[in-house]
């Protein structure tokens, strides 16, 4: 079942003469993990803001659970169902403590206090931040802030979570934490994940990849057979993860993988 549908979707910034998104027609299915990759300016982040009505299309439409994001009456529901985690963990922290920040979305949605307390307990355990609930944002690491942001969205019980380059400002540990969380969200909780990223190793964790170029989805491929995708990815100038670089190089030089192992480990 399609949870999000793009119909002839177009977007153009007021100050620009050119369309950033040009006639996109795609469906995102429930429970899948979709990665959107592409160079800067290809329209990835603009697209991510259209998923929950933060920006409105200038042409065509985005449907979330069958409702158009342009319908004023459906907007609050859409924002509850499609949560967003942004790039900078510092800039999305609204409240003075982690507990208050998790509650922020629920307060906006009018969730009763008793339910809020239960959900804060539940989601903080889920993302492993029970021990920092009382802390202020400037005392947290980037990974902890992102996990707090995820908890705040999970508390609203969404069906879709959009991660807009959410690991790009984190150190390797923070990045690993968030990727593990994303993996659990999709594989254990059945949430639909949309991840905007520059990192192919992150994209390879997902089920499907959209490659965006100049406002169009140039490729829509599954990650079932990654080696088949490496050639065009390399041709598009995307830095392949090290193991795939090694694989490509070995294949090019016709080095047998076992020989490679011998070369690395010795006789």
């Amino acid at each position: 079942m399609a949870i999000i549908e793009l119909r002839d979707l177009e977007y153009q910034y007021e100050e620009s003469d050119e369309k950033v998104l040009k006639g996109l027609n795609k469906k995102i299915h429930q429970g899948e993990w979709l990665s959107i990759i592409g160079a800067n300016g290809s329209g990835k982040s603009t697209l991510s803001r259209l998923f929950n009505g933060l920006s409105q299309p200038t042409g065509g439409s985005v449907l979330v659970l069958g409702k158009k994001t342009t319908e004023e009456d459906s907007l609050q529901m859409i924002r509850r169902e499609v949560g967003m985690v942004f790039q900078n963990p510092e800039h999305q922290f609204v409240a003075p403590t982690v507990r208050d920040d998790i509650a922020f979305g629920m307060e906006n949605a009018g969730v009763p206090r008793e339910v809020m307390l239960e959900r804060i307990d539940e989601v903080s355990r889920w993302v492993n931040i029970e021990h920092i609930l009382h802390m202020e944002p400037h005392r947290l690491s980037g990974g902890q802030k992102q996990r707090a942001a995820i908890a705040g969205i999970l508390a609203l019980r969404p069906q879709v979570m959009v991660f807009d380059e959410s690991t790009s400002m984190l150190d390797p540990n923070g990045r690993k934490e968030i990727l593990e969380t994303m993996n659990r969200l999709c594989r254990e909780s059945g949430l639909t994940i949309i991840s905007i990223t520059h990192y192919l190793e992150e994209a390879f964790m997902s089920d499907r990849i959209w490659f965006m170029k100049a406002g169009r989805i140039e490729k829509d491929v599954t990650t079932a057979n990654i080696p088949d995708q490496l050639e065009w990815m390399e041709a598009e100038g995307m830095p392949l993860p090290y193991k795939y670089q090694l694989y490509r190089e070995a294949k090019k030089r016709r080095i047998d993988i076992r020989t490679l192992r011998t070369m690395v480990e010795g006789e």
Partner: protein, 265 residues
């Protein structure tokens, strides 16, 4: 730089004052501020001093903390005292130093105003030291909420205050980063003429403002993405609970005010 200023700082604790409802504390401090300006007798100030000592024991704030915090205020207090002592020329001359004569009323006024200033800073500091910023904004929101009938945006004002407070440490961290970055590129904020320092200061302010605006835009997106739509239909996680301490405090403060009014000359 600001480590000696205690107004606005919060010291977590479990004292009587920490457990009080912030609305009661704000109301009490506002009442005391008014009463301080009505007291005009030595007996009144003696009673105020006794109250200040009693409140100190109820606050659980370490004395060295208060002493350190009150120290910068002393400069202002001394200045105020001498201004009154020099320029108020009423009553008998108490003593003269060179061409300056000190009058009885001048000394009395100087001491009264100094005491008022000290007590004002002391009580306000104890309010912020024993009340977390979020409790303060919650209390102000509730206290201003009756004004919503007259279109006063109490909720929005409280949200603005809460966000401003939340971003103070972040902005300070950012300022420090920019200072380091500018220093690494040769800027000097501590040396040179006033003009040079002002120029160096501009090189600090511009990136700080640019970043603050970018942050504000991102924050607006993040708030909107989580369904922020103003105060209407919103529920609250934090509840303010009025307890026996608060009622007791209000009764005692009211009685205190009445006694002080009787002691007026």
């Amino acid at each position: 730089m600001f480590e000696n200023v205690i107004i606005g700082q919060y010291l977590p604790g479990r004292s009587f004052l920490h457990h009080m409802d912030p609305r009661a504390k704000i109301a009490a401090v506002l009442f005391l501020i008014i009463v301080i300006f009505l007291v005009n007798s030595w007996n009144g100030y003696a009673l105020f001093g006794a109250a200040a000592i009693a409140v100190y024991f109820l606050s659980g704030v370490p004395f060295r903390y208060i002493r350190k915090g009150m120290f910068p205020v002393f400069i202002l207090v001394i200045l105020t005292f001498f201004l009154h002592a020099f320029f108020t020329r009423e009553g008998d001359i108490l003593f003269s130093v060179g061409v300056f004569s000190f009058y009885e009323e001048g000394i009395r006024q100087g001491l009264f105003i100094s005491l008022r200033l000290l007590l004002l800073v002391y009580f306000t500091s104890l309010l912020t030291l024993t009340t977390s910023p979020i409790d303060l904004t919650d209390a102000l929101e509730q206290m201003f909420s009756p004004l919503e009938r007259f279109k006063f945006p109490a909720y929005d004002v409280a949200m603005m205050m809460s966000i401003a407070i939340r971003f103070i440490p972040t902005l300070l961290q950012e300022t420090e980063k920019i200072i380091k970055a500018q220093t690494a590129r040769g800027a000097d904020f501590n040396k040179g003429s006033m003009r040079d320092r002002m120029q160096a200061f501009v090189s600090l302010l511009v990136p700080l403002f640019v970043r603050a605006f970018r942050r504000a835009e991102d924050l607006a997106y993040a708030m909107e993405a989580r369904g922020y739509n103003g105060g209407e239909g919103r529920t609250k996680l934090r509840l303010l609970v009025w307890g026996w301490r608060d009622t007791l405090c209000c009764v005692l403060i009211a009685a205190f005010g009445v006694v002080l009014l009787f002691l007026r000359q």
